[in-house]
Structure formats: C-alpha cells, structure tokens
C-alpha cells in the first residue's frame, strides 16, 4: 500500500511538484516570517533592556513613569542586598534620573540626567560601547558623558567643562561643574540629543541626597527569568512604597509591538494555510475524479472501502511529508543564511528615535514556532484530503467501474 501510495503521489509529476512547491515555499515563507518577527522582537527587547532599561528594576511604587522614576528611595539598601544575593542577577546598580539644566560657556539646555555607578553600569547596559570620543565614566571623578548631538548644541569639546544644575533635597538649586570625558553616538535622537551621564556619587552630593537613588537596575543572566526574579524580589521587599518589576512593565510599548506582530503573523499564517489546504483539496479532488475507475478496480479485487480511504490519506501524508521537508529545509537555510549575513530591514529608523537600533536583523530560528507551522501544514494537508477520501470510500464498485 505504501508503495502504491508513493507511486500515486508521483503519478502526475507536475501537479505533485506544484503542490509540494506551494507547500514548501509557503512553509518556508511562514518560517521566515516567524523568524523575522521573533528576531526583530528579540533584538528590540535586547536593545531596549540592554541600552537603558535593564531586566529588573526596583523603584518606588508611587511614581508616574517607571522608565524615568522621579521619586527617591530614601533607603535602597535592603533591596540592593536582595539583588546582590540573588544568583540569577548578573549585575545591578543604583541610579538617579532627573531633569536638570546643563550649561556650557555659550549655551544652556534642559537634559535628562542619568547618574550611575560607572563600573556596574558598564555591565548592565552597553552605553559604554557607543563612546566615539574619549572614554566612559570613571568612579570617584566629576566626569560627564553625553551624546554627540547635545555636545554639538552646547558647543563643547572633550576636556571642557559644563555645569549641571538641579533642585536639591532642601529645595535649593545645586550646581556643579563636570568635565566632558566621553561623547557617544548611538544613532538614536533621544540618547544622542537628550541624555547625559554622570557618576552617582557626584550627583548624590549635588542633590544633597547621600545614599539615595531613585532606581536599582539589574541585568540577569537570562532575561526569560525577569518576571520570576522581579516577583521574588518584590515579595521579599514586602509591603511599602518600594517594589520590583520586570522590564515588561517598563517597556510596555515593546510588548504592544510584539502583540501586534504576533497578530499579523497569525493572520498571514492562516492565509498561507488556507492556500495550501485549497491546493491540496483541489489536487485530491482532481486526482480522485481521474481515478474513480481505478478505485473500482481495487474494490473489485477485494479492497475494502476503508482501504481506499486509507490509501488516499497515505498519499496525502506522503505529499505532506515531502512538502514539509522541503519547506523545513528551505526555511532553515534562509534563516541560517540571514542569521549569518544579517537581513537589512529599514525598521531601524522607526525605532531609532527612542532607541539605539540597527537596521540589520540577524535571524535566529524559533523552533517551537516553526514546528507548530510544520505540524499545521502537515495536518491541514491531511484534513484537506478527508472530504475527497471519504467520498471515494462511498463509491459503489459497479458505478466506479463504469466511470470513464
């Protein structure tokens, strides 16, 4: 039966090849789409959490915008100890965010000031890698790092001094001079044109907030554990106005993009599946019609109707296997190629305003999604065969034999 089924599959070579090709390329396209979306999402998350957000944060619960918490934790140390003790945490650091005024001899601008612990921050985010002139912050100094755009607007060069002004804890205006030690270029308007980085200790001094911070940012060994770690830390901190949260609550727009893309993907998937199903249904109906007499012969020989149904399903399963195998190999090859070479997607510009984001996506396979696609294509092939197969099973031998 297997032999007969296999030969029947290739009986109309052209039709079967068209079908297998449709299935294969449909599946490859699905896999490519899945991989592209997933890789884009992955890269987006990696960039967002890796350039600024971190994986898990400890902040006050009563802040307005968790990305830039504006209220201070008077004693972040208990939470800091929890982060330090958690083996899933790769690195963590204290930060202060606030808006302030930055002045050069020629100009004054508003800026987003990020005060960080330099040696820890180098691990938590990749900002240090974007330095194009000079070097990154060093602890215990009064250095400042900023984007090339804001430096241009202030008209300052490396080694020159700027003055930061911000409101101190007692309500007075604090001011301090910082020497420009590094200029970064990320390609992102927000980073290059609005943000400046200074060492935490200098900022605490300026604000008269010794030992205070408005967030603790942590990077984990595995981002997938962000929710779990955040929940554990949050539980250990206990009630109060300080809590821990994962990046998903901070970079909400990425989660939104992800949901949107997944929805699109599902629709495309459905369309491709429908095309494959209709193709198979059509082939099977045509081949059934052409072969009615042959089924009559098989029945006359003593094949039970159920046997004929099984034969047709087996033919379709073989066709499905060949198509799925083709799709799997073409899809994997595409993903592997663009995983090595990278895929140029002009989406970088869309995200660049907010994030340093490259326009080249390195595809990576998401096997769970791909196997789902393969399984569905195969299943759809089988399901599409059922109506014609069952119809063949209801043929009466004498009528089937009269069929021309």
């Amino acid at each position: 039966m297997l032999r007969l089924a296999w030969r029947n599959v290739w009986r109309n070579r052209r039709r079967s090849l068209i079908n297998v090709a449709a299935m294969g390329f449909g599946l490859a396209a699905i896999m490519f789409g899945q991989s592209m979306m997933r890789s884009l999402q992955y890269q987006l998350i990696e960039k967002a959490t890796g350039s600024f957000t971190g994986h898990v944060r400890v902040e006050r619960r009563d802040i307005d915008e968790p990305k830039f918490p504006d209220k201070f934790m008077t004693d972040p140390e208990p939470a800091a100890k929890l982060l330090a003790a958690d083996p899933r945490v790769l690195a963590w650091g204290r930060r202060i965010h606030l808006t302030g005024l930055i002045s050069s001899p020629n100009k004054s601008l508003g800026a987003l000031i990020c005060a960080v612990e330099p040696e820890k921050e180098k691990i938590i985010t990749d900002m240090a890698t974007y330095i194009k002139q000079g070097h990154y912050l060093e602890p215990g100094t009064k250095g400042i790092v900023m984007g090339h755009k804001i430096a241009g607007r202030l008209d300052v060069r490396l080694g020159e001094k700027v003055v930061l002004m911000a409101q101190a804890a007692d309500g007075s205006m604090g001011a301090e001079a910082f020497r420009l030690v590094g200029i970064h270029e990320t390609g992102s308007e927000s980073f290059d044109g609005q943000m400046v980085w200074v060492p935490l200790a200098a900022m605490q001094e300026l604000l008269v907030r010794p030992g205070q911070a408005n967030e603790l940012a942590a990077k984990l060994y595995d981002i997938e554990q962000a929710d779990a770690v955040a929940a554990d830390i949050d539980a250990k901190i206990g009630p109060g106005n300080v809590g821990a949260m994962s990046w998903k609550l901070i970079d909400k727009e990425i989660i939104g993009i992800q949901a949107f893309q997944d929805g699109m993907l599902t629709i495309i998937l459905g369309i491709v599946f429908a095309i494959v199903a209709l193709g198979i249904l059509n082939t099977q109906l045509m081949s059934l019609f052409e072969r009615v007499r042959e089924f009559g012969v098989l029945m006359a020989m003593g094949a039970r109707p159920r046997w004929i149904v099984r034969l047709l399903i087996m033919e379709s399963a073989l066709l499905g296997l060949v198509g799925t195998a083709l799709g799997l190999s073409v899809g994997s090859a595409l993903i592997a190629h663009f995983g090595r070479a990278g895929l140029f997607l002009p989406v970088g510009d869309a995200f660049k305003y907010f994030l340093p984001f490259p326009s080249v996506i390195f595809l990576r396979p998401s096997w769970w999604m791909h196997s789902f696609a393969c399984g569905t294509v195969f299943l759809v092939t089988l399901l599409a065969t059922l109506p014609p197969a069952l119809r063949a099973g209801r043929l009466k031998p004498s009528e089937a034999l009269r069929h021309v």
Binding site: R293, A300, M301, R304, P305, S398, L401
Partner: protein, 234 residues
C-alpha cells in the same frame, strides 16, 4: 444427502435489477442461472440486454433489486460491504473490457496485487506473480508498466491478476472487445488452457460470434431475460 455437496458454484434465483428508480428501467427481469465448477460459459445477447448487469451482480459489484445470488449454496446478497470485499478478495477474479491495470505499477506488481490485499508475504507474492505471468506468456515483461505493453499484453496481465489468488470463478465482461480478432483469439486460447489445465471456471460476456463459438456453454440474454441456454459438444 448434503446440500453442500451438490450445491452449484453459482446460483442466481429470480434476480431482478431496476436502475434509477425514476426511469424504471428493468435491466434484469428475474434471471435464474446456475454455473457449475469448471464451466467455460459465455453470456450472449444484444447490446443493452443486461449482460454487464448480470455479471456485476454475480460478481457482487452490484446488488440485485430482487432475488438472490448464492455461492456454494450460500446466499451472499445479504453480506455487508466489507464482507463482500473479503468475499471477492478470495473467491473471484475479474477481467474487464478495458484492461484496467493500475498504471503506476509494473506488470508483476499488478499481477500480484490481490495477494497484497490478502496480506501475503512479499517473497511468496513474487514467486506466484512470476508463475502467473509465465502462465500468460509474459514472464519477460514483468518489470514493464502498462503503458509499455500492447493491449493484448495488458489483457494477459489482467488475466494473470485474475488467477493469481486461485479464485473459484473468473468473471470477464467483454474481455476481447478492445482487441483485434487475432489477439482476441489468443486470449481465448489462454483462457481455455487455464480452464482445461487448471480447472478455473470462466463466465464471460461477448456479442462477437467468433468468441461465442469458443464457449462450451452459451447463455443468451434478451431484454433482461434468459432466452436460450446451449451446451456445445466440442
């Protein structure tokens, strides 16, 4: 006296067939026919007289509207679809007017297919199909597919397929109608040999006088009724 010992191979009793309830065409109007083991019998009659209909009903490919068909004294018209399939699988062989070989299988594979359906093991199948092809004189064509065989050769493969599982009866509806007279005569030679040397019972239809001459018994149908039943001394 056991009924069994004397039961004929095939017996139809009052077989009627009405096609398509709407048109009320009575293709058979009460046919009583007995075929004994070892017969070499032809069904004759003009076109539309009901030859194919009767062969189909005897071959269990179709059910009579009325009446019964018995094999060895057992009524088979009451069997269900699967039981009928199994019955055909072991007891009957068919030869059709238009050969009806399976195009994707070679001559040997076509010939052995009933054994595949029976679940006979491959080595034994191969041996039997080789023997059957040898009987029909095609042992050198075993690996050819039907489209590489002439009509006469295809029909011989069909005969090999019909005899391979040693059925008790072979039904052939106009087996020579698509063949020229010489090839048709050769096919009849073959059938005759199989009948004489191997005791295989044949029931075949034809409206070709030359073919009917070869039969030992000729049953004539007219308008769905048996008109004549001649046994020839040859």
């Amino acid at each position: 006296m056991s009924k069994h010992l004397h039961a004929p191979l095939v017996q139809t009793h009052g077989v009627e067939k009405v096609y398509a309830a709407a048109s009320k065409i009575a293709a058979l109007k009460g046919v009583d026919l007995i075929v004994e083991r070892g017969e070499f019998t032809a069904l004759a009659g003009p076109s539309g007289s009901g030859k194919s209909t009767l062969l189909n009903i005897i071959g269990t490919l179709d059910r009579p509207t009325k009446g019964t068909v018995s094999y060895d004294g057992k009524v088979i018209s009451t069997l269900d679809v699967d039981e009928l399939s199994d019955f055909r699988l072991h007891a009957l062989g068919f030869v059709f007017q238009s050969y009806n070989l399976i195009p994707v299988l070679t001559a040997a594979e076509n010939a052995e297919y009933p054994l595949v359906l029976q679940g006979v093991e491959p080595a034994k199948r191969r041996k039997l199909s080789h023997e059957a092809l040898k009987l029909v004189g095609l042992e050198h064509y075993a690996e050819r597919r039907p489209d590489m065989l002439s009509g006469g050769q295809q029909q011989r493969v069909a005969v090999a397929r019909a005899i391979i599982h040693r059925p008790s009866l072979i039904l052939a509806d106009e087996p020579t109608a698509n063949l020229d007279s010489k090839t048709g005569a050769q096919l009849l030679d073959l059938m005759e040999d199989l009948n004489k040397d191997h005791g295989i019972t044949f029931l075949f239809s034809s409206h070709d006088q030359a073919v009917l001459e070869r039969a030992r018994r000729v049953v004539r149908l007219q308008d769905g009724e048996l008109k004549a039943d001649e046994v020839r001394a040859r």
